[in-house]
Structures are given as C-alpha cells and as structure tokens.
Symmetry: C2
Subunit: 336 residues, 2 copies
C-alpha cells in the first residue's frame, strides 16, 4: 500500500461498485451492492424519500470500505451516469433510478460527517483511470469511449481532463451521425449510440437476421430473429461464422465513423474503448482501425491514432473516481 488511500465508487444503473485505492492505483478492498430499485409511486422526487436510498447505498459502501482497511480515508469520489455539474449535482440521469436532480455531493458529504466528497461523470472517471494506469498512459491527449448499452466518453487534452463549462463534456453517444437513421430514446434520429453500442449491435444483428444473413446466430437465439442479441453475434463470430463477423464489421464501421469525428475535433494520440463491448470490438479491431484511418481527413499526413482496448475492465470507473477524489478538485488531475 502506497501513500494516500481514497475511496472510489462507480454508481451504475444496476450495481454500485466501491473500491479503496492507493496512490498507485492498487485496489485494497472492494464492495458491491445492487443499485436501489426503480422508482415507484411517491418516490419520484430526487429530494424525496426515494433518493435517500441512493445516498444511503453510497454511504454504506463508503463506510464498509473505510472499515475494511487499516489506513485513514479522507475522501470519496463517485462516478455517476449522466450530466454531473460543477457543484456535484446530477442534473440529468435517464439511466439511474432517482438520479435526476440529486445533489450527490451535498447529501453524501453531510451523511458522511463532512468527508470530502467529489462527484464526476462515470465515463470521465474511467478515462482518468485508463490515463493514469491503463491503456492511455504517457500521452497528453487521449479520448476514451465506453461502449455499453449506450456510449459514454471522456477526454484528456493537453494534459488536462476536459470537463466543459458546466461539467457536461464527453456526452458523445448522442452525436448525430445519420440524421435519417433510427429514432433514439432521446428523441433524435441517428445518434451514434444507435449504431456503435450494445443496443446498436442488437439492432444491426436483428436487421441482418430478418434479412436472412444470420442463420447461424438465429439458431443460437432459439430460432427467432427478434430474439437475437449482441451476445449471440459475439459467440458466433468467435466460432468464425461469416454472417456474424459481417455484422461486427458493420458495428466496427460505425464505431470508426464516430471515433474519426472525435479525432478530427481533438487529435488524440490514442483512443481507448472500454465497457461491455470490449471483447466484441477486439474481434474486429483490425477492421475498425482500417476504417478509422480511411475516414480521418489527412490521415496520410498524420501519425496513426492508435485505437486500443481498455485495460482496467469494470473497475475503471471506480478507480478513476478514487483518483478524482484524491486530486481534490474536479478541474485538474495529473497523469501518473
């Protein structure tokens, strides 16, 4: 164990994962609990009774971690899904029960007797972790995309974490990449995460299944094209099924498209992909890199921007939250 110990918590839609982390990113202790359930009648207000369960879960995880290690813990960082503002309020969190409007910093620090509490976007936290100890070390400019049900993102530019005027930078899943594309739950058409996420993969796969291009995969899904999920495609692709690999190629092309748009804006040295789709994307990484290179304007005149898988797995968000807490303010985290 080296130096200061901080607690990092990744608050997801289904689970809360907490870690005690030392200065070198070593995980000393881990606690996980289920995220308190969906809203029911009378629990709709973020400042009402219902949201107390969320704060209580975060406090309980913090206390369990604090009690599990033999070192003083002075701060806790929380990575939360959605728009986290500069004051630590979760302004908009469509995927977190009771999340929207929740003053996480204010209420959690009060509940913890004044412990220093920092809250940041979950994908930004994961990015800080990968930058410090994972796939993005040693560079001043990096972009991370987290590919799950949707797409989250984090940005390092010129050696600084980019958070934006309000703290909302990196909401890259809703960039429109096809204005006539499929409708997104957000109300727009053709958001990037309609194509290059887990749900995007499912949709691409079902389209291919209905078109008769995925018979092997439909078999894995029990014979019904409408039951095809991304997992079935990944399974079949690993076994070498051509139809499944073709669908992953489509996924990879859309991924490359959004990554090349981001690279044009930010010119990172490396782009890290993480989240539940890591293994799936890695199956077609050569295709993703080739499509990306072809889409990047002036690519023949630039150093290649490397697209690489994340290294810290599902712990990245919590490790990063701990690092953000350690740094003490939301606006500057030095690279390791």
């Amino acid at each position: 164990m080296a130096g200061q110990v901080t607690i990092g918590i990744d608050m997801g839609g289904t689970k809360v994962l907490g870690l005690a982390v030392d200065d070198e990113g070593v995980v000393l202790s881990e606690v996980r609990v289920a995220t308190p359930g969906r809203r029911s009648a009378g629990e709709n207000e973020p400042d009402g009774e219902g949201s107390e369960l969320v704060i209580e879960a975060l406090a309980s995880v913090t206390e369990q971690l604090r009690d599990s290690i033999d070192a003083e813990v002075t701060s806790v960082g929380v990575g939360a899904p959605g728009l986290v503002d500069n004051t630590g309020v979760l302004r908009f969190a469509p995927n977190l029960p009771r999340g929207t409007g929740l003053d996480v910093v204010g209420r959690l620090s009060t509940r913890l007797g004044g412990m220093r509490t920092v809250v940041d976007n979950d994908a930004t936290c994961a990015t800080v972790a990968e930058w410090a100890f994972g796939a993005g070390t040693g560079v001043t400019d990096a972009v991370m995309v987290t590919l799950g049900t949707g797409i989250g993102g984090g940005i390092i530019a010129g050696g600084h974490v980019v958070r934006g005027a309000s703290g909302f930078a990196g909401e890259i899943g809703h960039m429109v990449v096809d204005p006539t594309g499929p409708v997104c739950p957000c109300g727009k058409r053709g958001c990037w995460e309609r194509f290059a996420s887990g749900s995007g993969l499912g949709r691409l796969a079902r389209d291919a299944a209905h078109a008769g291009r995925l018979d092997e995969v439909v078999g894995l899904a029990g014979g019904d094209a409408e039951s095809v999920r991304g997992e079935h495609v990944t399974m079949a692709a690993k076994a070498g099924d051509a139809g499944a690999l073709a669908v992953l190629g489509e996924l990879g092309w859309w991924l490359a498209l959004g990554l090349s748009n981001l690279a044009l804006v930010l010119d990172p040295a490396v782009m890290v992909y993480g989240g539940g789709l890591v293994e799936t994307v890695t199956l077609v990484l050569d295709k993703v890199q080739a499509a990306f290179d072809g889409l990047l304007e002036g690519h023949a005149y630039r150093p290649q921007v490397k697209i690489v898988p994340a290294l810290l797995g599902e712990r990245a968000g919590a490790i990063g939250a701990a690092l953000v807490a350690r740094a003490g303010d939301r606006y500057r985290v030095d690279a390791a």
Copy 2:
C-alpha cells in the same frame, strides 16, 4: 500603444494579411499582399523553388510591418490553413498553393535572421483572438467555427487552447454528419462542410433552384439555376424572399446539427461563428439557436449554450496569430 508589439499574419489561399498588434489587441499597422499563385510545372515540391515565394511573401509582410511602427518587434505568428504540427511544419494544406510539407517556422525564422516565429492553424488563431478580445471573452470553455468555403474550428477547454497530440485539433469541417450524403473533395461522403459552409449553401441553393423553390433567387443569378451562389440567396433573404429564407433555414439546421455534436463533446459556454458566412447565418440565428437547443441532449437540464457571431471580422486570424506569438509557445495562451 500598450506593451509588447507582435506581428500576426493570416496566410490564406488568396491573400496574406499581416498586422502589428499590441498587448490589448489594438492593430497598429496593416499590410496585405496576394498569396503567391498556384503551382506550375517544376514548382511542386514544398522545399523547392516555388515555396520560396510563400516564405518570401511572409517575410516581406513582416518586414514592412516592422518598419512601419516605432517599437521593437521580437516575434511573428503565422496562421496557416491546414494541419500545422507541433514544430511549425504545415503537414497538409490542400487549400494553400505550395503549402503541404512546408517548414514555415524553420524557413521563415531563418529568413528573418532568427526572429522568434510561431505557426498555428488559422482557425485556432482566430479562436484565440475572439477568446481574448472578441465574442468569447470571459469564459473558460468556447468553440469557434469559421464558415467559409469549408469549415474550420478552434477549441478552448478549461482555459486552455486545445491543440491535440500533433497540433491538428479542430479539423471539424470533415466530421461526417450524413454517411449517405454528397461526396466531399476529401473522398468521404456527408462531411459537415458539404452542408454548413459557403459551398454547402451553394449546393443547397442549387438543389432548391432546380426543384423550383427559388425562382426569385434564380432571377438574381441571371435565370440559370446552376449559376445560383450563396450570395444570391443571402441577398434575396435580406429582401424577405420566402424561398431564400427557407434555404437559409436548411443551412441553419445543418449548422445547428454540427454545433450540437461539438457541444455534446466539449460543453462550451459559448459557440462563436465567424468567416465569410457570418452575415448570412445571422439572418437566421434564431432558427439556428432553436434547432441547436432541440438537438442538444438534456438541453432542458443545462444552461443554454449561446451561439454568437464573431466580432473581429477578417482580422481575427492575424490578431490571434500575433497573440500566439506573444505567448511564446504553442501550448498555452492566457485569456485576456
């Protein structure tokens, strides 16, 4: 005249505009010359005879400015169109004769007897100027888009100019916003600048003219739909022509689409538009802002991101180049 005087030069595809600028952004002197012409046989190599004309033009403008003012000038900044790398080499400049591969810093500083010379992307220079003295003052996070024949961009994030790993950040015109859209000279389909630039406006207008929706404008263009240019649309829109205003509405929607994508990535407090289309876009600014607000995910939960016209006009690039030279390195320019 206040403090240190530096020279800033905006090197465009048709003209070279040089300014002597003091610490407060006041222009003390101005010189402009035509950009040395298109390549001819034997002048294709950036390090060959032909590119000498470009360096000579920059040196001559610098010397004229230096001789025109009664103050010591110790540095010159150049804003160049294209990919300018960290060492001041113009790596890719499709719109500048003899530009690609030109070592501007090395050759110009040698030619000027060792004067400190800094080169940066032209849109980044304009952004620095608008941030310091124009439409983007007082914020830590801003994005500027320059709307000319194509679209350039510059980014301020967390109080720093974003330049990227190689210096190529802000190449936003080639973000793909419609993969089945019109072919771009870069080889891709549906780049943002196919829609929201001067050439994009011309294309939208000719499509509308051929469809019979722009009879007034076709009249202004001499009766031939294929002769319609953006200027004709702007002229008719100012006179209240409904067809012209509808085409500007289309332009504005595409502008809003790309701006909202950038705002999702960067969360700026303000987005500044500049370049030759400023006046045209301002005619439909209400529509642009409304479309942008609607496209920005979670907009009801955010402070409004203001879209505002640039204030420094065609001098922005040269003023910004002077500021970048004053700051002494390419990686940090403090806001005024």
